[in-house]
């Protein structure tokens, strides 16, 4: 692989981590969704680049799936859900931005150390790719942990899943079947969670998961 190809792959994967960081401090839902769409777009680009580099045409399909479903359909649908729920003006008080960012940086450092140590035998591209993918996964989990709104937890989960796709495409020779099933599982998760959101909303007049805790009669 020429160094230019390597650098571009590196750049795209790095951009994905950057997008994850951007999602960390979005306290408005619309903004969060927009960044998520950007996140998925970068993922699509990165996968397409991998397809070109590895001469694996089926990865173009994966890129297309990422672009259509994750960057367009899901954000648009979530936009509509937010509007119908009437929570587009809600502001989430994320745990202090500085603290979250520090934690995120720590996680990325951890992912680098772990991955570079574990994959010492693999080729350079796969190692970098896996390290970035693990960072994205960890940042997605961090988003889920720091949010209280069910919609933003869903978004955090989907960004985590983007990290998985990045890892999968970085490893050579992943069959398409797996990717399609992954995409569908996300779609199903999205549908289920969407339905749940409305059910929660019907019950509690809120999609704040704290309402569930209050309903269970527990102290925090």
């Amino acid at each position: 692989m020429s160094s230019l190809q390597f650098d571009i792959a590196h750049l795209l994967a790095g951009s994905l981590v950057l997008a994850s960081f951007m999602m960390l401090y979005q306290d408005r839902l619309y903004a969060l969704l927009n960044v998520y769409a950007l996140h998925a777009g970068v993922l699509a680009l990165s996968v397409a680049w991998q397809a070109y580099v590895q001469h694996a045409p089926h990865l173009y399909v994966t890129a297309l799936i990422a672009l259509v479903f994750k960057a367009i359909i899901i954000p648009v649908a979530l936009h509509r859900i937010i509007r119908r729920l009437g929570i587009h003006r809600e502001i989430e008080n994320v745990i202090g931005v500085g603290l979250t960012m520090m934690a995120g940086i720590g996680l990325v450092a951890l992912a680098m150390v772990v991955m570079l140590r574990v994959t010492s035998g693999a080729d350079a591209l796969a190692r970098e790719d896996l390290a970035f993918a693990l960072s994205v996964v960890l940042l997605g989990l961090l988003i889920m942990v720091t949010r209280r709104n069910a919609v933003s937890q869903v978004v955090g989960f989907m960004s985590l899943e983007n990290g998985l796709v990045l890892a999968a495409t970085g490893a050579k020779g992943m069959p398409l079947v797996v990717e399609i099933s992954v995409a569908f599982s996300v779609l199903i998760a999205f549908i289920v969670i969407g339905i749940f959101l409305f059910r929660i909303r019907e019950r509690f007049d809120s999609v704040d998961v704290q309402a569930l805790d209050r309903f269970r009669g527990e102290r925090r």
Binding site: R117, L141, R148, V209, L212, D213
Partner: protein, 666 residues
Amino acid sequence: MIAVALWSVAVLLALALAGVVLSTRPRGSVILYGGCLLTTSTLCVTALAHLLYFPQMTPSATLPIGLPWLGAHFRLDALSAFFLVVVNLGGAAASLFAVGYGSHEESPGRVLPFYPAYLAGMNTVVLANDAFSFLVAWEFMSLTSWALVVSHHREAENVRAGYVYLLMASFGTLTLLLAFGLLASGAGYDFDAIRASHPSAALAGTVMILALLGAGSKAGLVPLHAWLPLAHPAAPSHVSGLMSGVMTKVAVYGFVRIVFDLLPEPVWWWSVVVLLVGGPTATLGVLYALMQRDIKRLLAYSTIENIGIIFTGLGLALAFKAQGLDWVAALALTAALLHVFNHALFKSLLFFGAGAVLEVTGERDMEKLGGLIHRMPKTAFVMLVGCVAISALPPFNGFVSEWLTFQAILLSPQLPNWGLKLIVPAVGGLLALAAAFAAACFVKLYGISFLGRPRSDVAASAHETDRFSLVAMFALAALCLVAGILPGLFIDALAPVSKAMVGNVMPHQTGLDWMTIVPIAESRSSYNGLLVLLFVALSGMAAASAIHRLASDRLRRAPAWDCGYPDPNPAIQYSASSFSQPIRRVFGSVIFAAREIGEMPPPLSPAPARLAVDMRDLIWDVLYAPIAKVVGVVTERINMLQFLTIRSYLTLVFAALIVLLLVVAL
């Protein structure tokens, strides 16, 4: 051979699944127990054929299940074959008994699926040839038997029994896990590799202690016995028979396998530990049994006694082996294994009899039974056989194995080690005491429940139990007699086991005149069951004819035990408590902290006088109650984890992931 055994286990597991469906069908229990009967009989015959005809062969098999780099290893050698015979003979008898008995089950859905699975678990423990399969099968056996113990979960007592049992079973598995962990440290989990390894003396000693704790907690060694008299009676009676008669034997198997087979040559102090646990277990177990009013609980305590006898035999085998007297070790080990077989026979028989009584009267309390010999003559007959056999009276089988154990004890002066020379006769004294108490205990059981006059309406209106149950009990009773009068056959069948375990065998027994058995030499001692049977039969007949000839032959029926009163109330008969009162007064005040509380009404008051006896299990108070308290407090704290918010759970998962990653990274 091994293929037949493994396929039978697979059939049992399939039957367990079928049990879920069959439990809803009206004749489902008959089909299921019939299937179990066929499968266990096949296994029993296979194992017997292996033990008798190919004892030197050790067919083995590896299945691609379990740990990925290890697989599941199974092996059939003489020891496993012998224990397979015990397990499946008990299993077949219990299944046959349950064909009749199981149709009275109120909640078949809680019994039918677990029963075949339980049998499969016990068989797998015996067949396993690596530590992982062994422990998984062991735990599977514990869990399925736990499910059977709590099958009648509406009685609060059974739920408590299940809880205590579950805790003790986990403890036992934990110690065995540690034992195998230590053994595997130098070799790996495969038993073949462990046999080939050479652990240090300290490590081997630790493993022996852990194995004694683990197997002993399952078998019911004092002081780890407290769960057993709670759990065994709580299960349906055929399962009680299996748990007492067979599962405790699987625990014995675990101990023998680890200590005699996997570990290197024993050291003399091992035997001291085993003897000092075994002897007191026998005596204390039967003392507890003697104090009971509940038939099934009495039988469960008597199991503890017999386990004590078996472990004493194993301890003797260790002692003689460690001191280089192989031929006596062979005698002691054969005695212990023969007692394993015998106890499986008569304890199953007695539990089935108790189950038959429970089924027709609904009572387990002896104080509410009595006079059943008239209403259930056949059950009463087989129970008498069982009681005589377990009391170690000739010509039945219990006598043979206990007599052989005593023969080994009598050889203790040949031991060079002075400590052992002193300890072994003391343990022998304890065993002798236990044997006498056992006789008293079963005179009480039989006399109070089957003789005398009924103490309640249910006992007065009892009737004979069903055909299948009777066939099962008669078959076991017949085996008790056969093993008692032809012990030579059984001793010879055990020769390959003792050859493999202690490296020597007892003298060949079959072919001696009149089927005598001679454990050591003709000049020392010999026993002939057939002659004793003939003598008992002839003298009995002579006595009966003399009485009929010389005394009045007019048949006269009078109320039993009327003590000379004209209109006797059944309550003035000897009761279970009054029968055991003298022994309780002698031993109970110390061992059970028994106190008699007499309450006399003031003079001229018509209020009744009362006499109550307060007994405590000191081992429970000292050992179990504090542990239970600590476990309770800790679980109460941990229980908080069940009521966190969704985000807290996410955070916990996240934190766990980060910690694991940090471990990898640093």
